[in-house]
Symmetry: C2
Subunit: 326 residues, 2 copies
Amino acid sequence: MVNTTLKKLSQVSGLSISTISRALKNHPDISEKTKSLVIELANTLDYEPNINAVHLRTQNNRLFGVIVPSISNFFHESVIAALEEECRKNNYTLMILQSGDDPEIESDNIKLCRQNRVNGLFACITPETKNIESFSKLKEVDIPIIFFDRVPERSDCHKVCVADIDSATMAANLIAEKQKKKVLALFGNSNFLITKKRFNAFTEIMSAHNIACITAYSSNETHSEELTNIYLAENPDSIFCMTDEILTGVMRAIQKKQLKIPDDISVIAISNGYIPTLYYPSITYIETSGKKLGKLAFESMMSTISGSTFIQDRTIESVLVRGQSI
Amino acid sequence: MVNTTLKKLSQVSGLSISTISRALKNHPDISEKTKSLVIELANTLDYEPNINAVHLRTQNNRLFGVIVPSISNFFHESVIAALEEECRKNNYTLMILQSGDDPEIESDNIKLCRQNRVNGLFACITPETKNIESFSKLKEVDIPIIFFDRVPERSDCHKVCVADIDSATMAANLIAEKQKKKVLALFGNSNFLITKKRFNAFTEIMSAHNIACITAYSSNETHSEELTNIYLAENPDSIFCMTDEILTGVMRAIQKKQLKIPDDISVIAISNGYIPTLYYPSITYIETSGKKLGKLAFESMMSTISGSTFIQDRTIESVLVRGQSI
DNA sequence: ATGAAAGCGCTAACAA
DNA sequence: TTGTTAGCGCTTTCAT
């Protein structure tokens, strides 16, 4: 069966299309009698407005796009969940796109956003996104972009990030406070601004306290496990993990070697919060909440949409969640 | 700046709108000269077709919807990832909707699908979805539905599921093979058909082998941990976990009590595959692949869309992945 | 090879 | 209070 349209309702009821349209939107001009008549008719015929027609006509899709590397990621997942919730509340639809960390797919996704005439885009860029030219095309047609988590280095764009320096600082300070002497610190992709900042903040505190610090970069689990195996030979008394992926790799190595946490070795991580609780003793971590980030990003979007010309550059505070791993 | 339209290209080039439209779609009637001219112009003016207009005109949105309880779930996440990939390849867009296991939101989502004139819907129903009336409205307007994972009991609808009985059977057989004598078996939500089937298959094999079997239902981590603590008093030699959530709860209890796996107690789970590898020794599990399910669901959708009247009822084979936990 | 025109379903300004 | 009409941007039939 074919979908019911205003035209059909008009034909069946004998009323004009515009009267039907108005009645359905509870327009004050329409009499109560007509309204209830039309609404009832619409219900029995299962009328649902054709959103393409509405959007074409109103030139407002009430649609936001979000580009993440992959939804299979605790952090981004929680960001999306938060965005989705806010969109629901504000009667927007969210178009979720995955870049797979491939700049070409990212560029395709941006095109999709333009074709769909999104009202705004939330974007987490790929490590290879050197210039943001493809994003600029959105700006040219006045589609605001809120970058989040992984953001461009330039300052003329809206950004919402988790605390980069702060979270590394908190972890470093806890290590110092616990009188650790030799730490293995594993960081994520060195292309990212956030990695650089955390690396600098962390190592600085280490030197300030005269704590020996072995550093390495890794962005996946297996590599982290290998690195841990290698550097465990140097007998660190603690390990700092910048991401969940690193943490799981490190834990695999530790568990295989049957090392006791925290007696043989201490562990501290930066995480969104699920993985650290899976282990026993549970891992102490600095929480960077994707949920909070999502909410803040949405807030920034709304204020930008409603005319604020202010460049948004916001940061989510980190929280220390104490486990028993250090 | 405003978006470029065919009209604008027409005005700038002096060609008619229809010529522009044809040139852009590589229509054979148009001369090469005109084509290249138009394409170049479109590029310089950053033309992107207004998808709402295209869809309104062509009455084909090339859009699928998918409803899951939450994207924050390993299994559903991988289903979505697979669906997304297939959609990409086939030039469809995927609209991802979350029900939060709330029948009311589910119903809203279905409405959204109708409003967006999706070409088809992939749906994983909520535990409370007693009747599928809201889904029927989609069928009335010829929108095919492929139910997956959690599906209605009635037989007149398309279904793609993971092996229910088989996976429970495989786990049970392994437990028997390993000569276990007393097993604690934790199952998910008892409303689901899949739970019932697995429960029956599992307990049947247990009785056939004269293995004592304590059973309980739990659908979240904390509850699973509590149940484990309670039933550990009865000294089972093995635990069967029907889901990842159950597994993490069980493992928390085991780790807190410092029980050694597999010496003190054996563990076996049904899982999508990530969580079991996090532990050491790694957990033996029956893999139910969300990725395979997604691919198969898409296949079913495509054959239904292209006219097959055949009721699809397909099942993903399970695979035993051996860890060291039993 | 190109153009004119109709119409997809809807909203809203204007008319009655 | 209701109806008429134009038009959003696009595709496609029919004419030239």
